[in-house]
Point group: C2
Chain length 185, copies 2
């Protein structure tokens, strides 16, 4: 392929990343082969092998494509923004099979340093907006605790209980953090 | 085998469950075969097949054995008990490979109803002491939020960041919950 910003190159990358993600989420790691991605994306195996030599190259771009999931658009109101961001995390579990994606990353990262890197990057991108909103919390250890607790409530519920928390539990969690961190005047 | 409470029967169950757990944690689901468990536990394949006909029977007893992990011994002081219980959850991640166990359950429960049941039972047992300590929180939705946030902080950190939270973050989380739920006089 020519220049990396050539629209055809961008298009190919997007198509292949999306195909790789679909396959990963529906079939798991073992389904993610060059042959399956070629078939699903409509490109030749030669193209796939040339630009994504290993399975990890495919997985890396699959999860990078995944980062495009919508986040909540901040309003400036702390309670609304925390609730919105937690809710959008829950929505992504339901609408974008994020439960599948996260559990696959968590499991495989236990034994693969490459997957561990993909996971770290993906999680950092996912937590970004929550961390920005929690900039209002002054002490760094409280900010970290609040971030981990709010994201963790969703991760733990979905991966360990198999269901998202009720909206009354979500808003109680936001209340606990806001009141505990004394973020209200 | 004779009576279920016959000491030899109890001994066999314990040995086999422990062997199955060791294999699961070191080799994953594909390693958990009757042959491997027989070899590792020192019992015959016939014994294993007779009393644990399927891989799921082995997995169920492996995770039941896992529930014997130590919890924090409550003191009656809310802050000490919450901190102790969160810390013992972190310790289990490190000392009992609970990160491996939980990520395997989370991943496999996505596609297996039987594993989903094993996970639910295991998680309920693990959360028990935390829920008891949080009985002090009056409103049920706040109690649920506090439980999910404190357990979730550990699950999320270990599975999504690949490391346990610092002890300063752990105690900040407990402070946020205690102060947010107005549990101090």
């Amino acid at each position: 392929m020519a220049e990396p910003n050539d629209p055809r190159v961008v298009r190919t990358r997007t198509d292949v990343a999306k195909a790789a993600l679909d396959i990963l989420l529906s079939e798991g790691w073992t389904g993610l082969t060059h042959g399956r991605v070629a078939k699903h994306s409509g490109y030749s195996r030669a193209t796939i092998y040339t630009h994504w030599p290993t399975q990890m190259d495919l997985a890396r771009d699959a999860f990078a494509a995944y980062e495009e999931m919508p986040h909540f658009l901040p309003t400036g109101d702390l309670r609304a923004d925390l609730t919105g961001e937690v809710q959008s995390f829950v929505d992504a579990m339901v609408n974008y099979h994020l439960d599948r994606g996260l559990s696959m990353l968590a499991e495989k990262a236990q034994t693969s340093a490459e997957v561990s890197e993909i996971r770290d990057r993906f999680v950092a991108a996912g937590e970004g907006p929550m961390r920005q909103t929690l900039d209002a919390v002054e002490k760094p250890e409280f900010r970290e605790a609040a971030t981990l607790m709010l994201c963790g409530m969703v991760t733990h519920s979905v991966l360990m209980h198999g269901r998202a928390p009720d909206s009354s539990v979500l808003s109680s969690a936001v209340d606990l953090v806001i009141s505990g961190a004394k973020l209200e005047s």
